[in-house]
């Protein structure tokens, strides 16, 4: 549409990369050789032929094959998709996993975020940065949290080329990173859950049942590491698909009722009642869509990755039940781009579920149509915000939309949409199997069921822990073997959460309990710092994270996150403008402006952890 191209042409390889995603062009107008007689007589195109939602997969194909997206490659992708090149560039430059400048094919993305920082990431980066360590054919980049906090410090290896792929290195050492860069072969992902690739702490605890009271009552982690993650047979043998069978038995209305009775609250951070969300999508009067938000990128969070890597069929079953209940025939699973193993596992599981009739036009012969579209993120924290996630699936920059309209009225592709977090959904099969009342019998009246917590930092056994709502912080820390040093601070809920101190260990871990303690449950992050950690540096890192991840769409957040980082940097360097107190007052004022005026939750919470730390400790005086 008014396609104004620069003269940059794609290379044969770039062309092949795009064609591998979109197929060969059929006419001269869409990038084929000009000259077929028909090209002078007709062309398609138009808005209806735009395949905007295929832009991200196309950019992934370019990135995977070439290692960066050149102007020529972007021109060709634009031509193929009927998009103005400026739009394509806008999208390519938005996502961190895409590079619009030349980059070596082998890249190691080293996490320098708070969890890994507490476990030696900076020391690792210092060595990698010294000359001669990294071969010329490769490079290294700093990365925000990779969701591998239980094995910090972590790194993600991406290899572009004909044989491309990604692999995680965790814990990463100078030796393992060097070895991977020198010999960047990406082998097939092993079929069984290898502890080398992912450590499901819940599983390792099963050897020590005394460590986790009520282990037998694990609801969400019961299969992690036990059943073969790629095996539908194992899933069926361990109670899999009983929830869906029950759902078919009672019909969609009663499924929603069971969820309402269970009082299941959303686990993505907002704690919205899942049943009410489902109900309003059912009431929207138009066929809705289901979206599973698996763009887990809150620093310190890795539970959704462990769930997908270790029990992918549970999520598939949960989405099928949800789709059936709300009347959606299609569910989108938006998975974080930095989770290669989870992607492979899920791709494999979706394939198996489709082949066995657990997904498709006639699920289990019950005349129900439901399928799942797997979408890959490309490195943008903001895409965890539900409307930004819609834009990302639709092929746009991940910029949040104004609300209202709320997703249940107008969401993905303008249709009523239910968005649920992975953990929220994985509760669903259990609720259907055992009943909503049984579910609600565990936990507290305000927070029913069990909750996954991501323990990382200065704890003896980092990992994902499932406990009934109501357990105290102290109890959960004890499960993880206690702190490695002297407890200094605990970051609850991730970068968007808040700090607690050693005096707060008896806070009950419930939505209401943490609210009362002026903290948030958030995504279940419990990030522990001991006396060896410089909290000021942690705050600067958090500020840098938000400045980097702000989508830039609205002024309060775009400017506020930058000013916030600048003030903290001045305070760390002990060169405040005016006094340190004046700087902190300004910081609070900026935080208030972001809370008041930002479009989305990123801006609303970008100062919360920093302000809570400054309220608790005199860090800069």
């Amino acid at each position: 549409m008014d396609l104004h191209f620069t003269s940059d042409q794609p290379t044969a390889e770039e062309r092949a990369a795009v064609d591998s995603e979109l197929g060969a062009p059929s006419t001269g107008w869409t990038g084929g050789a000009r000259g077929s007689d028909l090209d002078g007589r007709t062309s398609g195109g138009g808005i209806s032929a735009q395949s905007r939602h295929r832009l991200l997969p196309t950019l992934h194909a370019i990135q995977a094959r070439i290692g960066w997206a050149s102007p020529g490659a972007l021109n060709y992708a634009s031509l193929r998709l009927g998009l103005p090149p400026a739009e394509t560039y806008g999208v390519a430059s938005f996502y961190a996993l895409f590079s619009t400048v030349p980059r070596p094919p082998v890249v190691v993305h080293v996490c320098d975020d708070i969890s890994c920082r507490a476990r030696g990431a900076e020391e690792l980066l210092e060595v990698l940065g010294s000359t001669g360590v990294i071969p010329a054919s490769a490079t290294w980049l700093r990365s925000p949290c990779l969701g591998l906090c239980e094995r910090a410090p972590a790194a993600l290896l991406t290899v572009a080329g004909a044989k491309h792929g990604e692999r995680v290195l965790a814990p990463a050492t100078v030796q393992s990173v060097r070895a991977a860069l020198l010999e960047p072969e990406i082998g097939p992902v092993p079929d069984v859950l290898s502890t080398e690739l992912s450590v499901p702490q819940a599983f390792s605890l099963s050897d020590q049942p005394s460590d986790q009271p009520g282990r037998r009552q694990l609801r969400l982690l019961s299969r992690i590491g036990r059943a073969g993650a790629g095996s539908l047979k194992d899933y069926l043998a361990t109670g899999g698909y009983l929830g869906l069978a029950r759902a078919f038995e009672i019909g969609p209305e009663r499924v929603v009722e069971e969820i309402l009775v269970s009082k299941l609250l959303g686990r993505g951070g907002a704690a919205f009642p899942a049943g009410r969300k489902w109900q309003s999508a059912r009431d929207a009067g138009r066929p809705p869509l289901l979206v599973c938000n698996a763009d887990e990128s809150e620093p310190g969070t890795f539970k959704d990755r462990v769930l997908i890597e270790g029990d992918p069929f549970a999520l598939i079953e949960a989405m099928t039940i949800a789709g059936y209940a709300i009347g959606a025939e299609l569910g989108y699973l938006y998975l974080r781009g930095e989770y290669p193993l989870a992607w492979e596992r899920m791709e494999h599981a979706l394939d198996a579920a489709g082949k066995s009739g657990h997904l498709g036009d006639d699920v289990l012969g019950r005349g129900v149509r439901f399928d799942i579209q797997l979408c890959r993120g490309a490195g943008a924290y903001i895409c965890g915000e539900e409307t930004a996630l819609f834009n990302s699936i639709e092929g746009y920059r991940g910029e949040p939309r104004n609300k209202p309209p709320f997703p249940t009225q107008s969401g993905l592709f303008g249709r009523p949409t239910v968005v649920n977090n992975v953990e929220t959904l994985v509760n669903v099969p259990w609720i259907l199997r055992e009943g909503g009342a049984a579910y609600a019998s565990v936990g507290t009246p305000g927070s029913t069921g069990t909750k996954l917590f991501c323990l990382s930092g200065a704890v003896v056994r980092p990992g994902v822990y499932e406990v009934a709502f109501g357990a105290t912080l102290r109890e959960v820390l004890d499960l993880a073997g206690g702190t490695t040093g002297e407890l200094r601070a605990i970051l609850m809920g991730g970068a968007a959460g808040g700090f607690l101190g050693p005096a707060d260990l008896d806070v009950p871990l419930t939505f209401e309990g943490l609210r009362a303690a002026n903290a948030a449950l958030g995504s279940g992050v419990i990030l522990v710092f001991d006396e060896t950690v410089d909290l000021a540096e942690i705050l600067v890192r958090i500020a840098a994270f938000f400045r980097d991840e702000s989508c830039g769409q609205c002024v309060p957040c775009r400017v506020g996150t930058a000013r916030q980082e600048e003030i903290l940097a001045r305070l760390v360097r002990k060169r405040p403008i005016g006094s340190a107190d004046q700087e902190i007052a300004l910081l609070r004022e900026i935080g208030q402006a972001m809370r008041d005026a930002s479009i989305c939750g990123l801006g609303h919470t970008a100062s919360s952890a920093i302000e809570s730390a400054l309220g608790r400790w005199r860090i800069f005086s």
Binding site: D2, G28, T42, S43, G46
Partner: protein, 529 residues
Amino acid sequence: MEDCDLIILWGSNARETHPIFFHHVLKALHKGAKLIVVDPRRTTSAQWADTWLGIDVGTDIALANAIGREIIANGWQHSEFVEHSTSGFEAYRAHVERYTLEAAEKATGVPAALIRQAAEMYAKAGKAELCWTLGITEHRHGVDNVVALISLALLTGHVGRYGSGLNPLRGQNNVQGGGDMGALPDRLPGIQHVENDELRQKFERAWGVPIPPKKGLNLSEMFEAMEHGDLDTLYVIGENPADSEADRHRALKLLRGLDLLVVQDILFTKTAEMADVVLPAAAGWCESEGTVTSSERKVQRVRRAVAPPPGVRDDLAVMFDLARRLGHEWGEPVAEQVWDELRRLSPVHAGMTYARLEAMGGIPWPCYDEEHPGELFLHSRLWERPVLGPRAPFSCVDQVDPADPLDETFPLRLTTGRHLDSYNTGVQSGGYTSPLRRGPTIDLAPEDGARWGVAEGESVKISSRRGSVIAPVRFDSGLRPGLAFMTLHFPDQMATNDLTIDAVDPRSGTAEFKATAIRLDRVSVDATL
């Protein structure tokens, strides 16, 4: 427009030539409407289309008749509408019978399958708009082109209803109004025919003077009359025939031969340069009071926002002073008084007081009295049962090839048009720079560049049977081999109308600007200096 299901732009590059209108098209597209563009060139409008039909220049009737035949052959016509609201269907059916898909493919170059698809899309659309511009009218059979399209709308009932209609896109904000106010050789104000005695006598009574009972000359006939010595005085208001006429050499010669040429314009045009008397006029849109009438027949007020520069006078003032010098004292009426006289004489404008125009933000005619809201659709009467007024007639017209044939000496088909950044002969746009402006070029298919051995940017001599111009080459992949394109925006650097043919449709008076046979010759460097 925004609520329809299908839009056909036929011989229109509205994206560039009617950019504001095209915004409404875009709104429709974003709401899910389909777009078909019929144009020899793959224009920027065609880029937005679901289907572009790359027709050969001047073969629109063959395509339209084939679409009509295909609709009838499949029984897709709106039988109820055809039966109750139209006349001449059987004759039309018989007439288009020989326009088979195969014959049309041969005549137009458009593959048969695409013609069939277009027929199906148009016939089956719930609401469809058929829009055209100069690609249809600037042919020696322009009127035939138009009625061929009208027949398609009659066949499918896509007329006179919300979201369905026929839409000739006008070139200026008041082309419609100029005609409505009597600036046509056969009409009095209010679209009333001068040869109708009753209507003419009404004006004679009101004005107290006799009015010639026969229609006047159209523009092409005027030039013919000049050639025969029957016309020796020309009063040109807001027109630049020295640049805009086809076969410009002839036009210039005839204008020079006049006894008296008077030009009244807001700008010192090429024609004004030749004039004996120039009357500087105020700019209608900002320096004078009055009304304009848009393509949708909507009459709107224009108001004076700034005073004209010294020495420049309002058109009305010029006119009244001229009348005074010629011995008629008309006083000093203001625009509203002139308008009120029109309302007394033109039934379709009768209800449009200035106060109502202001309050309602414009009123579409007809508006018969001060209670009448104006008619949204001109042809909604066709949907009344029984139909109000005469039925709408089908017309049987045949394909006529362009007057300027291709042969070995002149093997390339040149068509003309406009760019987004410029307007017509450049009188109003030439004084401004634009980052989009490409200047005068002859646009060729890249293949033709290779064929004629010319490179992009190279100046070439372009010759037709009437004249030659020199212009640099620009390659445009929207052109297929054998098709060339030039604009008429830069008459001083590239007098495109030295090439065009003045074969005129006698009914519309419009020349065949769209189809010229040309050839290319390389020129030595000296010749370009």
